[in-house]
């Protein structure tokens, strides 16, 4: 924020990972119908782009919402290091319980970043491909949306 203005900063991070969309709750036919080629048994991969948007007061001394020197290593440790060049279904504990759709990846990345100490997390947007992108801005926004 600067005098009546809201300022946010967005940083884009790149990671490559594989996944498979498959749910044991459904029959083989249902999985095939729902997930198509995304359910092929050995998985496939994407170059994901993870956009992290933070917001808060702009520090007058630094001109920054948050120093990238703080944000980059935080995102690196919480998300890039565990996700990059991994098979999400097997190597991220949360996706042993849920299907690693990019919707669910957004929620998981948001959960991992929401306690960033230097600024508020506004949203996480993930491009699975240049044609598909997904955003999550937290459960509070979801609740506000439900109340409309």
């Amino acid at each position: 924020m600067i005098g009546g203005l809201k300022v946010s900063l967005t940083r884009r991070y790149h990671l490559a990972a594989s996944h498979r969309l498959y749910s044991p709750a459904f029959s083989a036919e249902e999985n095939k119908r729902l997930y198509g080629k995304c359910g092929n048994p050995y998985g496939h991969g994407h170059n994901y782009i993870v956009e992290v948007t933070i917001t808060g007061p702009v520090d007058e001394e630094t001109g920054m919402v948050a120093n990238l020197g703080a944000l980059d290593p935080f995102v690196e440790r919480a998300v890039i290091e565990p996700f990059d060049h991994r098979y999400l279904n097997e190597e991220i504990a949360e996706f042993r319980e849920s299907v690693p759709t990019t919707e669910n990846i957004c929620r998981e990345v948001y959960r991992r970043l929401k306690d960033f100490p230097a600024a508020g997390l506004e949203k996480v947007r993930i491009e699975e491909t240049s044609n598909n992108s997904f955003e999550f801005a937290g459960e509070q926004e979801s609740a506000r949306d439900a109340a409309r």
Binding site: M1, I2, G3, G4, L5, K6, V7, S8, L9, T10, R11, R12, Y13, H14, T53, V58, E61, T62, G63, M64, V65, N67, L68, G69
Partner: protein, 143 residues
Amino acid sequence: MIRVTRKLEFSAAHFYHNPNFSAEENRRIFGKCNNPHGHGHNYVLEVTVAGEPDPATGMVLDLKELKDILQREVADRMDHRHLNYEVPELAGKIPTCENIAAVIWRLLEPKITKGRLDRVRVYESADLFADCTAEPNGAGGRG
């Protein structure tokens, strides 16, 4: 409501240095952005104006007019300039993309007479940008 976005690219030099900090603090906080001779970026500015299209023209505003405003207010001030030394609106501020976006908001907001300024986005690189919008219920926009 319709949002219309116009893009402008400009190239400028800057560096980050706060005279209130020691040389070591400047180095620690700003890293290589503190290099005293500066460095540059190809900035990309995206300006979004929101409003209802005029029924007669089908336009929220004339994009040519917006293009001219961006040229006068932003490109003429900042393109191929050193942001620390040559842009009075940034004097005394660290020329981060947060501050550049806020300065551009203040330059443009009074000039947009059709529709209202909705968002100013400044890309410093493809992977880093700042957005400036009116604070909800704040004084930044004309509502």
